[in-house]
Every structure is written in C-alpha cells, then in structure tokens.
Symmetry: C2
Subunit: 438 residues, 2 copies
Amino acid sequence: MRVLDVIQKKRDGQELSTGEIHAVIERYTRGEIPDYQMSALLMAIYFQGMSPAETRALIQAMMHSGQVVDLSSIPGTKVDKHSTGGVGDKVSLVLAPLVASVGVPVPMISGRGLGHTGGTLDKLESIPGFRTQLSLSEYRDITAKIGVAMIGQTPELTPADRKLYALRDVTGTVESIPLITASILSKKLAAGPDAIVFDVKVGKAAFMKTMDDAQTLAQNLVNISAEMGRGAVALLTNMNQPLGYAIGNALEVEESIDALAGKGPADLMEIVYALSAEMLWLAKRVETLEEGITVLQQHIADGKALAKFEELIQIQGGDPGVITDRSRLPQATHLYEIKSPQTGWIASMDPLLMGQVACELGAGRATIEDVIDPAVGLSVPVKVGDAVDTGQLLIRVYATDPQKGERAIHRLQTAIEISDTPTTPLSGIYDRLLPGIK
Amino acid sequence: MRVLDVIQKKRDGQELSTGEIHAVIERYTRGEIPDYQMSALLMAIYFQGMSPAETRALIQAMMHSGQVVDLSSIPGTKVDKHSTGGVGDKVSLVLAPLVASVGVPVPMISGRGLGHTGGTLDKLESIPGFRTQLSLSEYRDITAKIGVAMIGQTPELTPADRKLYALRDVTGTVESIPLITASILSKKLAAGPDAIVFDVKVGKAAFMKTMDDAQTLAQNLVNISAEMGRGAVALLTNMNQPLGYAIGNALEVEESIDALAGKGPADLMEIVYALSAEMLWLAKRVETLEEGITVLQQHIADGKALAKFEELIQIQGGDPGVITDRSRLPQATHLYEIKSPQTGWIASMDPLLMGQVACELGAGRATIEDVIDPAVGLSVPVKVGDAVDTGQLLIRVYATDPQKGERAIHRLQTAIEISDTPTTPLSGIYDRLLPGIK
C-alpha cells in the first residue's frame, strides 16, 4: 500500500478498505508515515467524509494502536459518560460519584480543557493533592475498590489518537464528524466500559453549532458503540448558556459539592439526573428512567453521593476537607461584579464569550503549554428567562491578577442581554437518541 | 497571521487576501511553516479552488520567493514556450532554435521528465557534453549572444515552487488547476520573458484528460500572463497519440534534427509551426500567423534553423557533430519490433502505455533519483488514420537490457488498435485561446 494512493482514493471520493485504514493508522503511529501526508489525508476526509464501515475501521485501528483495558474482573456493568464539552460543564464531577453510590461502577478517563471549554482533570486538580495521572492498573484497582475512578489519559492508551489529535488541532481538520467520532470512541472503548452515555452539546459555546451536526454525531456515536457491543444512549443538550452558575476550576468543584449536597442549580441537576438515569438504565440497575431519577435523588438526599465523592478524593490523594471547608480550595484575591442596569428578563447569554473570558483569566489554556490558575473564573447566577431587578448581580469575576479582572469586566459587558418583556427559559435537553435509528 | 486561520478560511470557502498568501509563501519558503500545515492548505485548495485574485497573488508570491531574471538588456521581445507535457513531445528542441533563427530571442528554462512524460533537459543531455545546469548569468549571456539558451531550473529561481511541488507530489495535491497555474507561471515569469506561448495538451497521455479542464487551465494561463503584462496565447493540442514517431531521449534528438532539416513527421511539424508562428506573432515579427509559418518554413528550408541548433549545442558545450553523424548519440544495443498482424487502419493508440514502457526501458524516471538511459525508447512510425499492411512495422523498441526489451514488447501488444474499416486521423490542434475570453 502506498500512502499517496490512499490519499488520492479518499480525495476522489472512493471508499477506503479496512486494510488500508488499519495500515495507515499502524504505520502513522509507528512514525512511518510523515505528518504532511497524514494531514493531507485528514483534509481529504474533512471534505469527503467517511462511510460507517470506514469510521468503524478507523475506530478499531485507533483503539488498538495502544493498550485496551480489560475491566471484566470487576463485577457489574461498567458505564462511562462522555461530553463533547461546554462552558460550566462540571457534570462528570457530580455524576460519577452519584452513579457509583448507587452501585454501578463508573471508570472514567477524562481530558483537559483547551480554549473556552474546561476539562474534568483541571477541575479535579484544583482539589489540593488530587492525583489524576494514575496508571491503568491503579485505575482498575480503584474502580474495583470504590466503584469509581477519574483519571487522565495515559501514554499506553490510543497513541494514534494523541498523535492525530495534535495534528488535526494545527491543520484545520478538527471539525469532521467521522474524525470526531473516531477520536471519542477509540479512547472511550479502549478504556474498557460496557456502556456509554453521550452528552452531545449543541449551541453557541458547543463544538456542534447546529442541531443537524449534533444529531449526526450523536447517532454515529451510539450506532457504532452498539455495533461494537456496547450499550449506548446520547442526549442532545443545550449549550446556549453556561451549565450551572460557576465557570472555573475550583469554583466548579465548589458547585459540584453543592450539587452532591442537594443544593445544585436546577439546570445543572436536570442534566446530571438525566444522564445518570441513562447510566443506571444501561446498567439494568433500574427499569425506567423515572425510577432511576428517584433512586438518584434519594442518594443525593441521604448523603451517599457526597460520601462517595469524599471517598474518591481520599483514594486519589486529594484533601477531602474541601467538602466541609471551601477555604481549602484555591481562592481568588480580586472580585468584581456586573449588576443589572435595569429591570427586565434575561433574553440571551454569550457562553462562548464567558468561556473565553474565564480562559483569559487563567481558568483555561489557549495553548497546551499554558498553566491553569485554579482559583479564577466567573459566577453567573442567572439563566435565560429569569426576571432581574436593577442592581441585581449578573456576573461575579474571580481574579488573581487585577489587570485581568478589569479586562474581564470590560469584555463581559455584552455577555448578557436583558429584555423589557418576559423571555422563555431554555430547554436543557433537546433529544434522546438510541442506537439504530438513522 | 496564524497559518491555522488561513487553512480554516480556505477550507470554509472564503477568499484569502493577497497579504495572507504572500505571508504563507514567504514563511513556508523560509521553513517557518511546517509541511503538515502546508499540505492541509494545499488539499483545502484542491477542494475549494482559488479565485483569479488569489491565483495571481500566489503566482506573485512564488515568483518573488527567489530571483527574478531581468532580460531587458537584451533587445527585442523575448518569447518562451511552455508545454504541459506529453509523450514524444520534442517541440522545444525544434522550436527554440527555429524561432531564434528568425531573430526572436528564446530564453528557455526547462524541466526534467517524471513518470511517462519526458523532459527537455534529459533529451538535450543525451547530446555528449551538452550542459544544461548553467548559471542565470550564463543563461542571460547566451541568450544575448546567440538568441537562444536552454537551461535547467537553478536554485535561485522560485524556491517556493520547488518546495511546494515536491510536497504536492507526495500528498495527492498535484491535480489542482490554480496550483498548476501558479507552478507554471511563477517559474516562467521569474525567467524573464516578455511573452509566452502555452501548449496545453489534452488526452490520454496528457496531464489534462478533459477538454474542460484543459480549457480552464489554458484560459487561466493566458489571462493571468496578460494581467501581469506579458503577451500570451495558448493552443490546446492532441495527446491521444505520441507526438512524432520517436519516444526516448537520443531518439527524440535525432528526430528533432530531422525536423530542423525539413524531414520531420507531419504531426510534429504542424505543432512546431503553429506554436512557433504564435511566438513570432507575439514578438510582432510577423503580422499574421500565415506569414509566420511562411517565414519559419523558409528558415528550415535554407538550413538557418538547423545552424542555430548547431550553434546552441556548441555554446552549451555539446558535440555538434551529432547533427551530421548520428552514431555520436548514445545507441541502443538490442532492437525489437512489433509488426502489424493484419491489413487495416490504425484506430487508436495508447500513448500513456507507450510513455510508461519507454520509462521502464530507462528513458524516464519513476522517482526523482532514477538515472536516465539516453539510448533507449520507442519508435512508432504510424499515426491514427494510417492504412497499414500485414507485416508493416508498428513499433520498434530500442533497449540496452534484453530483459527490459522483451518485457517492453510484451507490454506493447495492446498499444495500437487496428480496425478493418478506414479510420479518421486525429486533429493536432483543438483550439487557440487569447487572454480575456472567459
């Protein structure tokens, strides 16, 4: 096989064979295909797409480019959750201990934030001492012992995805549904779960801007997961405002603790309960989603979910004292506020801008080398549809550098639009997709 | 400017600015943009195309990536000819001395063969001693002195094109009309001519397989040349059979000498006269093409054209004795023949196969590192439409390695199709394009 022939075949709209895809991925992972040929192939895939068979072959090839974790020694149906990323998306921090507290194992391998979206690992690491860079055997052991582990990518897992993602990031080939599907599923499947719930976010601050794209991606994800023998459900959820109030690492840990203690913002809890109930349903722990939500609410009410989070923090080396003493989390030194200039109703928000401003404050990374400031971020304690009074708090900025804080306030002046007439709250969940429906 | 933004802009079908294109080419030439980003951009250009303004900017940027030759000290209108390449295309060897013999300077910077097409430099170098790797000042001096010079690319000329072409060759991004246009014109314009005649070949063994593509490319070439202040004409010519009889380097030099001596095959002479007349017309040496052809025929008849070729060989270090003594050219050691198995008419030929077989015999390169065998090749002394008798010679194979010769004979069995009923000769010239007609 000549790589040039594969590039030209894809460029000309012909279907690549499973053998060709495996050969390309294996040779690229071994460094035998130069980046300049791979980026040309990726751009050709961007334009020509991939058939379901090609996408499956790509996932298999990427998944098997490294170790595939075997979790079969752990009893029960292991269920993971994947989000395509949004602003204020701390769902994993609440959902993982919550679902585990019900007895369904949640082995979770998460990512870091880049650009305006945050990353679960960065949030967890704002808890003093919390270790996310564990080995795959620690990951398996911790899941076996307490029913939940939350770790970062390890070098043994899907090296092809790591190499490909870095290349796509600098060659304008990120926004391709088959490539996104392959990146997500190769990583998730290599981590060993029996079932996966997908949270595909749609809207201004989401990776998928249109419902059509989101639906295509979500259907791809559940169909291929099912074809590979995994249970799968996808929810399409709204990313036209931040999820919950907090944006920023330590701030989101605080809000997650609130959520596990039964005091989470309603929009966050709606998504947490919906995704968690899908996980219980996929694990056959409950027969209906309604039953699932009832069980989950009980586990929050009686403190079991929060206790599981405490157990997780402890076993991964973090300071469980943060649960009762928030001052143990990194604290911002300079606070700024934007208040409502009028009476009215929240008409719209710009969560992309909010995410970018949080990133500029130090909560995220513009490039992979940037260092996170865990203390900084925003609190936005209003939602579209809310009535507001003159002088009511709209945004609080948490900064450690006053210059950045001032700049954030300046940038956020247009982030919230207020109407003189009542507005409609945004729905949290647009759609639910099961495998097989085309 | 971030390269990634430029890639995404082009990928999304937006027009790049002149500044962006210049910055990309300058930085790529200096090695500041990695090949993997450039190949992604090239593939995006393959799919999205380029506007005339973008193409012009690309040509200017590539042209000025190195030295631009100033030939203004040489009196008269300097005219060059460019062919998109074909099988048996020895037109430059005949046309350059012929046009120069009429007093129109022909400064010509040519290329080498790759794949099934031959290269003018390789043909010239089959003349013992002939030097093509001259400096730009030798190129200028020789043109000033005898009115014609035929040299190879030098490192100072369009380094951007050299880098880009090597990358396109291995990333499936060769077949893009704006990129082809830019590659041709940046090189041609940097070499300093005042006017250019383009021979855009169409057909089985041409780079452009369809009339539509050829027309688009040809119109691009003449329009942009004119916009850049150069006279320009393009002819679309037939590449569904070899041009002339000879394929292979020394064989084509022999046929070129025949042509300059008034004994060239009719199909070759038709193209030579047509292109040469356009050059005289662009240089305002004649008022009509008919007048041009008359002048050219005289210069062949009275030996001036052949004398100019002798002068050229001499000044570039070659052995002018080859003109009268063909045995001074490299000679094949093993000859093979294919004869007509029947009486009939030549219905079609496969010039691509013939070019590939000549290449396999050693007349061309499969990769840039291959060494040419100047002696080998084919002679195909029939044309589509010709009547043939049983036993009449169709193809003679000139080999230096008997194994390769046997293999060539075997491969060529299907190269010529004979019909029981009369067939129509192919027209040599399909169309003539002037600037401005869209």
